[in-house]
């Protein structure tokens, strides 16, 4: 009898520390996380310090030869800047353009549902389809150029794809709906009576936006920026399909793919992939740092 009581109280004490059978629910998630993330990631890090003999010979640095190559080889290193040149403006544009649209779409009006659907639709397309569409629509022989030529508005086709612009278009098409959805939900978390209060206190629309909405929305803008930035930073299909893959859109993921697919250098490919993550992390930390300076409490609404 005393044994039975002892186990009961042990179970009770464990439960108080949060240890009980419901913890078993974590097992599937942990297995998946370890198998699909922790192990491959560690394996990848391991690969980076096993450079090929050719790499070691060319760049020196012993087991860190891949890292030396990454920073010394301008062809590889410059891809950081090229990726940033695409991802930063694209993320910034997606966030900034979403704000006014989401603001307008807070109100009820006829056709709101249709407009929202149209704005969000591209999210379902996928990058490859978007790239294909862009080639057909905006290519040299595309509908847009043909129409403009026929109308006599231009003398020769505009170069809208197979360059920086093409990738930018594709990043906006896929990133904007995402940013718009996120910002809409952040906006709906702001208690509408705050704006009404500001109105009765004499604030015009700009003052209401600048003094009330913007400060409350700012943390959401930061989060949205981070997510759309990460999305844009890892751009690959469109950089290859509608970009200038060896020139202005020689992004990091393309470099990693080149090392992996064309040079069969898994170790270098892993190094580039890892550095890609490091650069993203730097931007994310910088934005989160800025965000921590802002008000982060309740926004009064449903959250």
């Amino acid at each position: 009898m005393t044994d039975g009581r002892a186990t009961a109280s042990l179970r009770h004490r464990l439960a108080e520390r949060g240890i009980d059978p419901t913890l078993l629910l974590l097992v599937p998630g942990l297995v998946v996380a370890v198998a699909l993330f922790v192990y491959p990631f560690s394996y990848g890090i391991g690969l980076t310090v096993q450079p090929t003999a050719a790499m070691q010979e060319q760049w020196g640095g012993g087991i860190l030869a891949n890292y030396v190559a990454f920073f010394r080889d301008p062809f590889v290193f410059d891809s950081i800047g090229l990726t940033m040149r695409l991802a930063l403006p694209a993320a910034l544009f997606n966030v900034l353009a979403s704000v006014p649209v989401a603001m307008v779409l807070r109100h009820r009006f006829r056709g709101k549902r249709l407009l929202t659907s149209l704005l969000v639709l591209p999210i379902t397309l996928g990058t490859v389809l978007t790239a294909q569409g862009l080639l057909i629509f905006a290519g040299r022989q595309g509908w847009l150029n043909r129409a403009l030529l026929e109308l006599g508005l231009i003398d020769e086709p505009l170069q809208l794809v197979n360059n920086y612009l093409g990738v930018m278009f594709s990043l906006v098409i896929t990133g904007f709906p995402f940013a718009f959805l996120l910002i809409s939900s952040y906006l709906s978390g702001i208690d509408p009576s705050l704006e009404r209060a500001a109105k009765t206190l004499g604030a015009g629309w700009w003052q209401r936006f600048r003094r009330i909405i913007l400060p409350l929305l700012a943390p959401g803008l930061a989060t949205t920026f981070i997510l759309t930035f990460v999305l844009a930073f890892s751009v690959f299909p469109s950089a290859r399909l509608v970009g200038d893959a060896m020139g202005s859109t020689r992004v990091m993921s393309l470099m990693a793919f080149r090392a992996f697919g064309e040079q069969n250098d898994y170790a270098m490919a892993s190094t580039i992939a890892l550095m890609m993550g490091a650069v993203e992390l730097l931007v994310v930390v910088a934005v989160l740092g800025l965000r921590s300076l802002l008000y982060r409490g309740t926004t009064g609404g449903k959250g």
Binding site: T200, G204, P215, G297
Partner: protein, 375 residues
């Protein structure tokens, strides 16, 4: 401070998708007055307030200040202060900055802002909390900030939308006193929306009772309390006993006539009660009889009673300090009375009320014409 003589609402109405949320509201408010709009949720009182604030456009009528139309102005140019049920404090701004917001919008000089903000915060006794964010304050303190934020602008009109309904009972009483004190010391013209009759009676100089978007009665607390125009208003004014009945006979005509009514559903074929008719009544009319619990006396079943008496059985006795609330079961209905001494539960009693305190109203509410349209 109130820089106008009178505020006039003429036939103000607001339709939402074919339904009148507010219709034909006529009201004249003098400077310095405290007017309460009273009614259950959905009666149009908040709609009226939002229309006044400019947060909802009117669909009918006009609003004038000293004969000048203001219903065409956007809310930010009306210069009214508003206190919201949810407080609507800016969560990212400190108490000080919340209060300063309106003054900054007006472009008041910084030194002047500091002075007036300090004054307003002192007025609501929140000096120690000036630097805190709203989230760090209790509900009562938050509502005090909201009030300070509205009155610091010295608005010509303060609109309050159920400001106390999110507070607990004790705090509500304290804040009620606070609001009354502020009104008395600042003399700001105030329109106060509530569903709580006690709040309305204790705060307001004048009450507007509303039902389904229409005004039922306008008057001083005293007028409404003593002579409600309909059983609906009576219900709001604490006439807890509202009983359906049939008129047996009416002596004299029109309002104030003495009416004898029969209550259905009571034992031995109906109890007859004599009361004062409010509105024209005839024999056979369906009516509602209204009696306040304070006006019922509980007498023993075998004791002497003057006039008509309703027999019943004591069902519940609640101790309320100086008196007891007594619920008496009579037939199907439960009647509420008060008694200085507690009667025995289960005992047979009779309830009597003076004739002039038994009000007999026509059953229909639609025929009701407000006794007084405007002051």
């Amino acid at each position: 401070m109130s820089d106008f003589e009178s505020l006039e609402l003429r036939g103000v109405g607001r339709r939402f998708g074919g339904v009148d949320a507010l219709a034909g509201l006529d009201l004249t408010i003098k400077a310095g007055e405290f007017v309460a709009l009273l009614g259950p949720s959905g009666c149009g009182k908040s709609t009226a307030l939002n229309c006044l604030a400019g947060l909802l456009p009117l669909t009918h009528g006009e609003i004038l200040i000293d004969g000048r139309r203001i219903d065409t102005l956007p809310p930010e140019r009306r210069g009214f202060g508003m206190v919201f049920q949810s407080y609507a404090l800016f969560p990212h701004l400190s108490v000080e900055k919340n209060v300063a917001f309106g003054l900054q919008m007006q472009g008041v000089a910084r030194a002047e802002i500091d002075r007036r903000v300090r004054q307003a915060i002192a007025l609501v006794k929140l000096e120690q909390h000036a630097k805190k964010l709203p989230g760090q304050l209790s509900g009562g303190q938050q509502q005090r900030v909201a009030i300070a934020r509205a009155v610091v602008l010295e608005p010509s009109l303060v609109l309050m939308d159920e400001p106390l309904s999110n507070l607990d009972a004790k705090l509500r009483l304290d804040m009620r006193t606070e609001i009354r004190r502020l009104h008395q010391s600042l003399g700001l013209t105030t329109i106060y929306v509530t569903h709580d009759q006690e709040e309305a009676l204790s705060l307001a100089d004048r009450l507007v009772v509303m039902r389904e978007g229409r005004v039922q009665q306008v008057g001083t607390p005293d007028e409404l309390y003593e002579s409600p125009a309909s059983w609906y208003v009576a219900d709001f004014m604490g006439y807890r006993n509202i009983l359906p009945a049939t008129v047996v006979s009416v002596s004299g005509g029109g309002s104030g006539a003495e009416a004898v009514v029969e209550l259905p559903g009571t034992a031995d074929g109906g109890v007859r009660l004599t009361g004062r008719a409010v509105g024209a009544l005839g024999a056979g009319d369906q009516v509602r009889v209204a009696v306040r619990p304070d006006d019922f006396s509980v007498v023993p079943a075998d004791g002497a009673a003057t006039g008509a008496a309703i027999p019943g059985t004591v069902a519940v006795v609640e101790y309320h300090g100086r008196e007891h609330a007594v619920s008496v079961q009579t037939g199907d209905v439960m009647l509420h009375a008060r008694s200085a001494t507690p009667p025995e539960v289960g005992g047979a009693v009779r309830l009597t009320a003076p004739v002039e305190r038994v009000l007999v109203f026509p059953e229909s509410l639609d025929a009701v014409v407000p006794l007084e349209v405007a002051a």
